[in-house]
């Protein structure tokens, strides 16, 4: 649905040019929620703004829905942009127009007849739950309500793609959750492709199917969320995840405690239904080794439950090996870390 090829963006003149994106490639499939995570200054804002050409890339191609936007003339681009909805961190609503008129705005730009506008806007007001607030002005709404207006407005022209530029970064945690749920709902209902950028791993974990980590203008890691989340490869990814898992700090403390020489420190990762099975206790009963749980998390990624335990096994070396083998046979991810 979205394809970025060798995207490069530099600012300034040749002598003092700063590079925001350097030869970035990215593919977002139809119907998926794709998250791009990165620190401020990593280039994620530039990336999302390059997709609808609010910023023109210095080099590279931008394809959305099979159309190469970077090749289009201004007028053609204006037409294509209607198929790309966008919501913003600071909502960017018209302060001089009420909720109804804000949502109707893209339709008015397109010259849609009034009756049709009214039907569409009312439908969207229902969808985002703001029907009773339609006469209010943005200044009278809360942050969450403003973002709901933003979402309704972005959906008015029936886009194929929704771009979310830090859409929840200005909201409190509860409001963030309700907005994320709304995004998930519209993704499922309309099979709408969503590309979002964020600096919060929590957002990725809640709704994304796939994630890319952007660092210094390039993508350093990419994959299904569960994979990247549970087995991060790049230092930047680990940093984002450790901020989400408060117990990572606890783990570091654990790993500094001197363990008996015979103990073996192992990280076991459960994914999906296995999270709730008694695999660990079955296996140790079989092999007769003892274990102590040093640290653990059980949570969900999107709807998939997962668990991650740091365990120290105590017992005969061969028996511990046997235990690890049996755990692996049961499709658990087992990593010896000490």
């Amino acid at each position: 649905m979205i394809e970025l090829k060798q995207l490069t963006k530099t600012y300034g003149t040749k002598k003092k040019a700063t590079t925001a994106l350097s030869g970035l490639n990215l593919t977002v499939k139809k119907g998926e929620i794709f998250g791009v995570i990165g620190h401020s200054g990593a280039g994620k804002s530039t990336l999302i703004r390059c997709i609808n050409l609010l910023e023109r890339p210095t080099e590279g191609e931008v394809w959305v829905g099979g159309v190469e936007l970077t090749k289009l003339k201004r007028r053609e681009l204006q037409l294509q942009r209607r198929k790309i909805g966008m919501i913003f961190q600071h909502f960017n609503l018209l302060s001089s127009a009420n909720v109804y008129d804000n949502i109707a705005f893209p339709l008015k730009l397109m010259g849609v007849p009034k009756a049709q506008i009214s039907a569409k806007v009312n439908e969207l007001l229902e969808l985002v739950g703001l029907a009773q607030h339609q006469k209010k002005y943005p200044a009278q709404l809360s942050g969450g309500q403003k973002q709901r207006v933003g979402i309704a407005r972005a959906l008015a022209s029936d886009p194929d793609v929704l771009l979310c530029d830090e859409a929840t970064s200005a909201l409190d945690p509860q409001t963030t959750d309700s907005i994320l749920n709304l995004l998930l709902e519209i993704n499922r209902k309309f099979n709408l492709t969503i590309l979002l950028i964020t600096h919060e791993m929590h957002v990725i974990q809640r709704i994304c199917d796939r994630v890319a980590v952007i660092h210094q203008g390039g993508i350093v890691e990419e994959g299904p969320v569960a994979e990247v989340f549970l087995k991060p490869k790049h230092a930047v990814t680990r940093e984002f995840i450790s901020r989400e898992l408060a117990d990572e700090e606890g783990f570091r403390q654990v790993s500094s405690v001197p363990l008996p020489a015979w103990a073996r420190l192992v990280r076991i990762t459960f994914l999906g239904a296995k999270t709730y099975e008694s695999v660990l206790s079955q296996v140790v009963r079989e092999t007769g080794v003892n274990f102590a749980i040093l640290q653990g998390t059980i949570s969900t990624i999107k709807d998939i439950p997962y668990g991650q335990l740091t365990v120290s096994f105590e017992g005969d070396n061969a028996k511990v090996d046997e235990t690890l083998k049996l755990l692996r046979e049961r499709d658990l991810d087992v990593e010896v870390i000490g």
Binding site: Q78, I84, L93, K108
Partner: protein, 222 residues
């Protein structure tokens, strides 16, 4: 200093002068708006462009506006006499005053328009561009409605400035209350005429400011 005797005032003449001032004000405000608004939009749009040629146009336009704004109005009236004659046929009276009023006030209003447009949140403009708005749609449907309170405030300031300009035009026989105040009050020492004329102008300014403020409050949604 003699006692004030307001019975000496020729009220007929006062009425005509008040009418003249209102006429000059009305026409001048109208034309200032019609010329200043597009000029202000042009200034704003040019200042946003990255193109070298449009950048140059902006600097030229900006210079002209600054020159017109820095020439004292009294001098402008005199300097513009040939142009005024060419436009309205006369260089005195109500008609002869309107062109210099407009040429003096329009650049001033244009700057206020430019400033008001700059106050519009860039994010909102971007959002509308992302929705596929054309440059003209951005101006008509985003910039102008969003800047409306600022534009009304600018128009109010301009109208008040025009009141003092009409008074100045009295110096060179422009007609109206200012003319009356200068001819009778200043040259003929008729204190009463001067006081009444000035009081009328104060009332006029007060009314304009009040109406303007009301509209600004009404249209402010922030």
């Amino acid at each position: 200093m003699t006692e004030l005797d307001f019975s000496k005032i020729n009220w007929d003449e006062m009425r005509t002068a008040t009418g003249d001032t209102l006429l000059m004000m009305g026409y001048a405000t109208l034309f200032t708006f019609l010329i200043g608004l597009p000029l202000g939009i042009l200034l704003y749009s040019f200042s946003r462009s990255n193109h070298w040629f449009i950048g140059l146009l902006y600097r030229v336009l900006s210079l002209i506006v600054n020159i017109l704004r820095s020439v004292p109005f009294v001098i402008l009236i005199v300097a513009l006499i040939p142009l005024t004659r060419a436009i309205v046929g006369v260089s005195m009276g109500v008609q002869g005053t309107i062109p210099p009023l407009v040429i003096g006030a329009a650049p001033f209003f244009a700057r206020l328009v430019e400033t008001a447009l700059r106050e519009v949140d860039r994010g909102v403009i971007e959002a509308s561009q992302a929705m596929g708005a054309s440059p003209l749609q951005v101006i008509r449907k985003v910039l102008l409605p969003e800047a409306l309170p600022g534009l009304i405030a600018g128009m109010t300031i301009t109208a008040v400035t025009l009141v003092s300009y009409t008074a100045m035009s009295g110096m060179v026989g422009g007609g109206g209350l200012g003319d009356l105040a200068i001819r009778y009050g200043y040259y003929r020492y008729q204190m009463e005429v001067m006081i009444v004329s000035v009081v009328f102008m104060v009332i006029l300014v007060q009314l304009l400011q009040m109406i303007g403020d009301r509209f600004v409050i009404y249209f402010t949604r922030k």
